[in-house]
Symmetry: C2
Subunit: 893 residues, 2 copies
């Protein structure tokens, strides 16, 4: 429950010893980080005091075109006063100045997306105060130069390079190899140099008033909400409906005050595999961004007890013990894995942040099961907690162990995000996007990644970095997506300009393929074969819970016995879409198919179809067998005939020789079959209307196969699906023909047993949805073909949509790619309408979905809500669908 | 009001002196012909007695798979008994037998579509009776042989040729040139020969029992309802919802009993130009079908008074006087032009049929106006009576008189259906369909047409026949459609096999063009230039009445000042759709357009657009001027850019030289612009999202043109229409940009006057209709683009639909071509939904339609019903739309 003053327009929320205004429930208002800082403070964790400016202020600021809401800065001033009072330090003080950090923090975590300012409050006067208070002049000037640099870069958009140049000059002057080799004198000169850089590029002096610094920093955070990279991240993650980011202003603590200081990040459990082991990294004498940015490679937290320093030989053990206690307290409090940031300042531990820990699918399953066992959560919460889409990670192939045994890795990096991937090398995000768009499978290879790279990372099959650790940008983002990533493979030298990498004396460029194993960190040359994953007992447990709660059936889209078998192993309860077109391409079949297409008379067509019949019958027999006892929905021939004929002169001549039709006749027929818009052309049931003999052949094959199975005691449950129906008459004519064909096969085979073949249709044309009440009278079932329905409802050709869809997502014209996740307000409206209309006429009509949306969790939620009976998806997405269906059912309760 | 017994399931309706069961209101039940026979009998006209079997019996017969409904034949027997009693003749009697005709007659007239049997009741015995009663053995056997021939052909499907062969043998035997030269003996032999033909091909003897003959004949009529040609006619005419045809059984009267007998057909007014003059043709000593079939060329009825015969020198005058009286009686009774059939048997006149006379559009206008003057009907009835679509005939071009003066006709036929047409010659219906489908303009040239030819007649630009009169099949059907037709051009010799005609010693084949003038009957070689029609005062009168009653506004689709001016003359109240794409093809414009498309940067694109701006501004200025004071809706660029670039290597090289872009870059860009389904691709507002600078140029041109006009006191009323919107965000983004552009033009021009430019969108994507409530918040108007909306709602590509649409119409899967007449249940549902949703959010939103449906009367009726504000159509259809809108408003009252 939000406190009362939230409603009263309070803009600043304090947390500290004096008072704590916020609480964990106020994420929307004060952001995830702010709410947790308040929450942690409330439960007694050592959190540096500070205050949070609300997300509403950010919204109001951006809405007003860049003006702070009235009264906000007054509240900020008051909070600063409280902070000064509590800490006994003063902003800009020449003896012991108050320094603060300014960080963003939206309601949803967006790692690395928002700008951060540290050491704010330093100026020419207070830098001396800091030196005085810490007794460390070097540290004070180092902090000051960091502030000017960060402030210049983030707030004033002065390019980092200009500061870097100035630093390099100083380093050269003092012969320093490393930043740390620069003497205090050099740092004092550096501050002066940085101030010049600042003035040169901003035309202003570096602001000396800490309150002015603070106001500008707050503004920078507000502005960063609408930075391209932030918009891009929200788009990819599908984050909408937020007002903006909150701003957290917090007393600085320093991990870089010497060997008795340090900083780190950790997960309360292993986010990669879910093991219940504290899992993190720390760096002695460093500030937080040094860990995240991957500039120095940190130590595992497990090593912390070994940390000693001159002042305290047991410092490591003490801090580690305290961290362990805090870890337990956090998990008990939040009942979930936490992702924390901490800093040790001169031996004292401070908690800077806690948030729900992102985890891989594998970890999510294990953690959920473990926490049920630990009685932290119940079954339903466990089911709700696993992001259904992340299950793909458990189901993704890994490299074939046999092949791996033979191969030796080029190098081994950090296993940053599990899975196996290979691809040709892409060296920039733009290149990865471009080449992936053109159908190439690429690996994105970068020294380190930054938020600017998210589009490219999303497009790549996998990500390989040469610096940075397990919590580097690349690692965190890749894990969130379940995308394979090997990070910090330091042996690899990357030459971005020349577009090549060098490792072990060999070079690889844009045309070379590497394989990366995100579970082990290995990097291999060439393409390595992959194998299917083995599923853990925890996975079965979760699936069992899901099946207990879901209402939706889950079928699969499968065209072969092998696919059908795999899907059944994954828990598919039938086939929702068995496409028949793929069956016509193998071996001699395509010849017979082409003969049929080139036939000029019905009887010639029938002769060619007769050759295809035995193949089709065998296909169906195999599938019915694999799915014995479960329904199999067979879709009759759907694509335009043009897809089956050869288009170049050479292939046409080959075909001419093979079937004895003159090549010029073939060319003429192929030209005749060409359509301006084949998507909207002569296909689907339109083919069966003009060439009923094709339907007759297919239905004959289905019926004969079903009878053959039955005679072998295999329970074949065929359902015949007529595609692309737009008017009830199409369906009634073809239903009649289907029924007659079934009856005549039964008569010819003298079959006397039961053979209830359902006859239904796809609803994939807007008009079919609009007139579903008419169509339902002739259909035993509706299966929503939401791929085509999306194409026609939006007027988007899926083959062409990439000419403008990226722009549409970028400008947030569409919240999501409607081919990935169903467009509830448009396409969904038609689905709902069809369900309602269909049921008025045919109460018992079976309703399913067989578009690719059937495997998308958000779409599955929609399917549950509108009352479908089942979803059908690709075999690998069946477990996802089972889990998402359970979540939909539980959410609806 | 239908009589009570109709509800009681009465199946046979008698008409005659004894009783008359039916009346004029019962068309649905006893067909148009049956109702009128009953009606004519009731008002005392000389109608041969008979009875009508209901359309419901036909429906029941066909539904039951070919079984008469129970009890029907009992009612038929009873009616025959009454008929025998009334006439004093008996079926099959050897002294004075009762003979009857059996004719079809549905609720809606379908000329020539249904089979007819005459002389039924003749057998080996009664033929002698007929000879006895008439004292004319030759006539009796001639009647008998006609019966066997017609019966064999129509009822038993024995090919007419077999009878023809037998007749030719007899003719040869007796050296007869003509049928009439065969002596009685020959006819007796012919009957025997015909009976053998009948037996050979039917395996049965010719039935001797008149009741059996009658039953089989009724069946044949019932069956003919579902003959291909009947289905085809109903499809073309858009006739649906009928149960079947009625069967009229009527006592025979004979026009072929000698020189004191005859037969004819007539219209109570001239159906071609509407003149209030009795208008018809007759033949002495002939049966009705001789007139209709065009085998002998008849005399005008006006010549009838000159008809004399041995028995009665004044027979012609007497009959003519009686006909005139009947004509007046009929018009007074029906208050409309009647199309009648009559027969004179030995001096006595009988009326065989009356029905509403089909007429040309020109005649319909004149007759309606005349009848209002004559106080036969009122204004509203006059408006309702003119088929709106037929007005095209008044608006069609005729041949340029100057050109005609110079040309001399090859020959002059009958002016069967007005208008002017030219085309290459097609010799069969199939050929006409095929070549018209392939884009050729053809004239169908036939000796005479038959119902089998209707598809070909429909496809042809005009029809030319060498035999047959003004009421021949070709003439009647062509007039009904308003298609130009010259009939009975006897000088033309047609060689169907060699595909050529010969006239005046010259030959013309499939590649030659002829021009025909349907208003004069002239036939010319070559293509003759045409001129626009002049409109009569009656036309203005009718338009005035229509404007008084209509609620819908009527705008036009026009892209040029010339079109706009013409449409305004036709009464357009604004432009509903001004397409801008055509404007980019002329002269230098296309170069600049191509430069823009090939530009690689925004600034290069803007530079090219800058060149286009003055052209566009001038275009709009001209159109605003032509439409001063009336709204002009300009649609922003809509088609994919691919349509503007050259596709072959040669043109690409030319372009390369002209604009200095390497040809290979041009080829690459052209390839890149290629789309799999351009209909659903990168076009419409999607172009403006990715290339906003195009919109900016167009809006700038519109705004500048409007300001220029205003400064010249021309009241420009611009409306900007954003096409292909599918989501509200597209519209809100582009609306903002449009508003900003308008504002900046106003500022730049320092314009201070009023300039209310409306901004709206087309609703042409299903999703736009589904989310019209969202979209309406950003739109000042909706214009329904029902062409694209039909494409996407049905999933039909208009460019490809001919691969299956003919089959769909043939099988009645679709009642009409949905691109010609709006599909009310699917596409219309979306329109209704969008109207309702749009109004909930934006009460005052303007609603129009600019698809081609805007000029289709049935669709206009729909637009009125759903509450649109206006329709927009091509200039020539504006009067049609005005009339149809009035009819819709009057019908709704």
């Amino acid at each position: 429950m939000a406190k009362k003053n939230a409603a009263a327009g309070k803009m600043v929320y304090y947390f500290g010893k004096t008072k704590t205004d916020g609480d964990a429930s106020m994420k929307m208002l004060i952001g995830g980080k702010g709410a947790n800082l308040a929450d942690m403070t409330s439960i007694g964790l050592p959190v540096p005091a500070g205050f949070t400016i609300t997300t509403e202020c950010c919204g109001a600021y951006n809405k007003a075109g860049g003006k702070f809401p009235k009264g906000m800065m007054d509240e900020v001033h008051a909070a600063v006063k409280t902070l000064e009072k509590e800490s006994g330090k003063k902003f800009g003080d020449s003896q012991d100045p108050l320094l603060v950090s300014v960080r963003s923090g939206a309601a949803v975590s967006m790692p690395g997306m928002m700008n951060t300012i540290l050491n704010l409050g330093l100026n020419d006067e207070s830098v001396a105060g800091l030196a005085n208070a810490t007794g460390n002049e070097r540290f004070a000037y180092d902090a000051y130069r960091r502030l000017i640099n960060m402030y210049g870069d983030v707030v004033m958009e002065v390019h980092h390079e200009y500061f870097e140049e100035a630093f390099n000059k100083i380093k050269a002057k003092y012969g320093a190899k490393d930043d740390n080799d620069v003497p205090t004198k050099g740092l004092i000169e550096l501050v002066a140099a940085y101030k010049q850089v600042y003035k040169k590029y901003t035309k202003n002096d570096f602001p000396q008033d800490p309150i002015e610094q603070l106001a500008l920093a707050i503004e920078a955070v507000f502005k960063s909400w609408n930075a391209d990279k932030a918009i891009s991240y929200r788009r990819i993650e599908g984050i909408t409906g937020l007002a903006g980011t909150a701003v957290n202003v917090q007393s600085m603590v320093f991990g870089n005050m010497g060997d008795d200081s340090g900083t780190g990040v950790a997960f309360t459990r292993n986010p990669s595999n879910g093991d219940n082991k504290f899992y993190g990294e720390f760096l002695v004498n460093a500030q937080g961004e040094d860990v995240v940015a991957g500039i120095r490679t940190p130590q595992p937290v497990a090593e912390m007890p070994k940390w000693t320093c001159e002042a305290d030989k047991t410092i490591g053990k003490k801090v580690h013990d305290e961290l362990m206690k805090i870890k337990d307290k956090l998990e008990k409090h939040y009942k979930d894995v936490q992702d924390i940031e901490f800093t040790i300042e001169r031996g004292k531990l401070y908690m800077l942040q806690t948030r729900t820990g992102k985890r891989t699918g594998m970890a999510a399953v294990k953690i959920a099961c473990d926490m049920v066992k630990e009685k932290l959560i119940d079954e339903k919460k466990a089911v709700m907690r696993i992001p259904a889409g992340d299950l793909t990670q458990l189901l993704l192939p890994s490299f074939d162990p046999a092949a791996k045994k033979k191969a030796s890795p080029l190098t081994i990096g950090l296993p940053a995000s599990p899975g196996a991937a290979f691809g040709k090398l892409a060296f920039t995000a733009e290149e990865a996007v471009e080449r992936a768009h053109n159908g190439e499978q690429v690996l994105l290879v970068r020294k380190e990644t930054s938020p600017e790279d998210v589009d490219g990372m999303h497009s790549a099959a996998g990500i390989l970095t040469s610096t940075g650790g397990m919590t580097s940008h690349a690692a965190v983002v890749a894990r969130g997506w379940g995308k394979c990533c090997v990070a910090g493979a330091g042996a690899i030298q990357i030459d971005e300009k020349a577009k090549k990498i060098t490792v072990g004396g060999k070079s690889y460029g844009v045309k070379d393929v590497l394989s990366i194993d995100g579970t082990t960190g290995e990097v291999f040359a060439g393409e390595m074969p992959t194998v299917s994953p083995k599923l853990s007992g925890d996975f079965s447990t979760v699936m069992g819970w899901a099946d207990k709660h879901r209402k939706l059936g889950v079928r699969t889209n499968a065209d072969s016995p092998a696919d059908a078998k795999r899907a059944r192993e994954f828990g598919a309860e039938g086939i929702g879409l068995c496409r028949t077109e793929h069956m016509f391409f193998e071996g001699d079949r395509i010849l017979a198919m082409r003969e049929m297409i080139l036939a000029e008379t019905k009887s010639a067509r029938e002769a060619a179809l007769k050759k295809l019949l035995p193949y089709q019958r065998k296909d169906f027999e195999g599938i019915f067998k694999a799915m014995a006892g479960l329904p199999v929905t067979v879709r009759l021939l759907d694509p335009p005939l043009h897809e089956f004929v050869p288009h170049d002169a050479k292939s046409q001549q080959d075909l001419s020789k093979a079937i004895g039709v003159p090549a010029k006749d073939i060319a003429a027929r192929v030209a005749q079959l060409h359509e301006a818009n084949p998507m909207l052309g002569h296909r689907g049931c339109r083919l069966s209307i003009t060439y009923p003999e094709i339907l007759v052949m297919q239905v004959t094959a289905i019926t004969e196969a079903a009878i053959l199975c039955k005679s072998k005691k295999i329970d074949a449950k065929a359902e015949i699906m007529i595609p692309l129906v737009g008017t009830v008459k199409e369906l009634s004519i073809l239903r009649r023909l289907t029924e007659e064909t079934i009856a005549s096969v039964i008569a010819a085979k003298k079959y006397t047993g039961k053979l209830d073949i359902l006859i239904g249709t796809m609803i994939e044309i807007p008009r079919a949805a609009l007139t579903a009440d008419e169509i339902a009278a002739e259909a035993d079932f509706f299966s929503f073909g939401t791929n085509d329905l999306t194409q026609m409802t939006f007027g988007y050709s899926r083959d062409d949509v990439n000419t403008f869809l990226p722009d549409y997502l970028y400008h947030e014209i569409l919240p999501k790619d409607p081919f990935q996740s169903i467009d509830a307000s448009g396409v969904g409206q038609l689905v709902e309408m069809a369900v309602a209309k269909g049921k008025t006429v045919n109460k018992g009509i079976k309703l399913g979905i067989c578009g690719e949306h059937g495997g998308d969790p958000a779409s599955i939620k929609f399917c549950h809500a509108v009352g479908l009976n089942y979803v059908s998806c690709s075999p690998f997405r069946v477990p996802i669908a089972r889990l998402a269906a359970a979540q939909a059912a539980l959410m609806a309760k």
